[in-house]
Assembly symmetry: C2
Homo-oligomer: 433 residues x 2
């Protein structure tokens, strides 16, 4: 008999059906026993009345994989109002030892290192599963928004001859006996490909040898990158980014309603136009509000981002805030300056609930500007030759952005550590599982 | 004035419009000059009659980025039946030197190494662009087929503590002073995640330190991986794979008709049921046909795959052929044996026009079977502990497959080298651009 999933049971009341999944929980009462079975669609309750079967169930630890044939009966007290009765149970695959923590409790109570050590088991918890289903929907929304706007998906090298942004935080690799590096971002490639397709995006891993153990840094994360040509300036990039964020959130809401409900998530509204504040104004506001003079700072500290996040909610009712026009001194060499104030950039950050989520901006597009920018940073052009080559062959004004998927999910779900929304995180202390 | 793309011109005859793009070609005739402008949508012809403008055009090398304002006029001799007249031209970004090869010729005639050295320029050629637009559509079809079948997209670590399949062909990396490796496949992770989501897929880079310089191997390629649980055996996997391949080809045809036409591609029919031949029968057929006794061989040589590809077209009219039941001896340790003939596997390859395109099969799902399989191969279990852990906590019967995106496109387009369908290939001799 063809297996059905647990969420299909309400449509089969009175019928004999087959379901299959993991024994999520056994409840062995005096008069009757229950098996709660977990499958891809959720949970299903199976009533075990027969003594011999009960005896068998008592020997099956949680997480045993079973197939259950039974009759669907309505029961208002059961999950989704149905349960399986007159059941027979067949073990498909044994669980040779119980999980190191209880998966059936409403939340996992083990420590984060313990959960990460046993990630393949911890991820089975319904709430954790739900988080990654929402993450997959977010990526789908990213892609579908950009597909609809004429972007082409690309796959670029993760092994590169020189560091992308700077020499720091880069993993070295033995490449057939020569040194090479893991790409810190697809930045150079997505720019080169603007010269080919005008608009490109990539979803892929990026690598940072982050020497610090923080709640928001990983050695590998999933970067949602986009780059587009024929822009007037960075504001065209911000318009696309706004639509992308809205598309990601809309896809989560429409595709994973059960996961949204399990997390009691109220998906944030993305304003038609996300409020925007110039970097220098932001520092003045923070100085005035906190009494600490930060007006000369070249960048925002995490506490500043939090202050701005609160301000955006208070003043604009928005979970999102653009900070625009960061000083050139802290932005990478390919950043386009603001023509009216060349010490400031046409670069922006998007702050989501007080956390920097996206960095983006307009890039330089003329060869001579690149040569001058590298000279100003005291960097030789030789390391960048194969990248710079493209700017000698006609590149339109362009810009782009990169969203850290895990940070986005971290902030959306309000969890305290990016590792909670990463399947198998990598950091200075962890390279398994 | 809002820029429009070249393919929108026929809808604007008689109107004044703005287009922008690269100078693809200049034709400087005696009485008149033409600029062929290339943008994301294709080519557009601009008529230059005015002497001063002609003089300016003469100074602009190919690949200069320009904006053109002009009036759309019907002209049957022009591309798509329209051209721009009464045009003014503004340079957005200069091309400081002409490209190292002519992009305007019907095909690129430079050598492959030359084209790869200047990939960011070579990719601008309309035919190469078109190949990668089709590649993006193929990936989209892969995802949409699996999204529709209840699969969840995942992102797994590319930095791992031990080699996935075997110690060979693995890139070593300095991971915060400790040794680690680049993942050769997401195999272990996608299996672990079957325990979480039942059905998962991943599109991502995989890394092989291939020591040989062949036309079909790369050091990094894009692997389209899928894995599914609660199967009866490998035939359930083959059913999903068939639908995935059909979905990839359908998406190319429906989303990129211009690229399909440019390549004069006849997208192959995917039979409702792809023909299938047992491995041992395949060797007998090849022996009988070629006179060379290969019946004892543990694997298919490339020439055998080609023979089988021809046979499938001849006998079944199919570009695709499953070869099923490879000997266990040549398959990885996680392969599930055929219960009726334990020296043969429940593993298959999919041959596409004579080239192995996909490897897949049923995997072991019981912990004790893994321990026995590793012992039989003489491998200690210690290196695999965090992977094996999941099989002690209940895993359903499962299997999956991996499609090499670049090989798929290579075979689909009939090109001779996988590097022609890779944006920026990586191999033993190449780590730039």
């Amino acid at each position: 008999m063809q297996r059905i999933l647990s969420d299909q049971l309400p449509a089969h009341v009175g019928e004999k059906v087959t379901i299959a999944g993991w024994i999520h929980r056994r409840r062995l009462l005096k008069s009757v026993a229950f098996v709660v079975l977990r499958d891809a669609a959720g949970l299903a309750q199976v009533v075990i009345a027969e003594a011999a079967l009960r005896g068998e169930i008592e020997t099956l630890p949680e997480e045993t994989v079973v197939e259950v044939v039974g009759t669907v009966a309505a029961n208002e007290a059961a999950p989704a109002g149905v349960e399986l009765v007159d059941a027979s149970v067949r073990t498909l695959s044994g669980s040779t030892e119980p999980p190191p923590f209880d998966l059936y409790r409403p939340t996992l109570t083990a420590s984060l290192p313990m959960l990460l050590d046993h990630a393949s088991v911890a991820l089975r918890h319904p709430l954790r599963q739900a988080a990654f289903r929402m993450s997959a929907a977010a990526v789908r929304g990213f892609r579908s928004t950009l597909d609809g706007a004429g972007f082409v998906e690309v796959h670029t090298p993760k092994i590169v001859a020189s560091a992308t942004e700077s020499g720091a935080n880069v993993f070295a690799i033995d490449y057939f006996g020569r040194p090479a590096f893991l790409a810190q971002s697809p930045q150079f490639y997505k720019q080169m490909l603007v010269g080919v397709f005008e608009r490109v995006y990539e979803v892929g891993p990026v690598f940072r040898a982050e020497p610090h153990d923080t709640v928001r840094h990983l050695a590998q994360f999933t970067s949602l990158d986009a780059e587009l040509g024929f822009i007037d300036d960075h504001r065209d990039v911000m318009t696309v980014l706004r639509d992308v964020i809205a598309g990601m959130i809309a896809e989560i809401a429409s595709r994973e309603p059960a996961a949204v409900a399990a997390w009691r998530l109220a998906p944030p509204e993305v304003p038609a136009e996300i409020p925007s504040v110039p970097f220098s104004d932001a520092l003045e506001m923070i100085s005035a509000a906190t009494g600490e003079d930060v007006t000369g700072e070249p960048d925002l500290a995490p506490s500043h981002e939090r202050w701005l996040g609160d301000w955006a909610i208070r003043e604009h009712g928005s979970d999102f805030l653009f900070v625009v026009g960061y000083p050139m001194v802290k932005r990478p060499f390919y950043t386009h300056p603001d023509p009216a104030r060349p010490e400031y950039s046409n670069g922006f950050d998007l702050i989501f609930r007080g956390l920097e989520l996206v960095t983006g901006g307009q890039r330089l597009h003329r060869y001579d500007d690149y040569v001058a920018a590298l000279a100003a940073k005291g960097e030789p052009t030789t390391a960048y030759q194969s990248y710079l080559d493209v700017f000698r062959r006609g590149m339109p004004p362009h810009g782009g952005f990169a969203i850290g998927l895990e940070r986005f999910m971290m902030r959306l779900l309000g969890v305290g550590n990016v590792r909670e929304v990463t399947l198998f995180p990598r950091d200075i202390g962890r390279v398994t599982p």
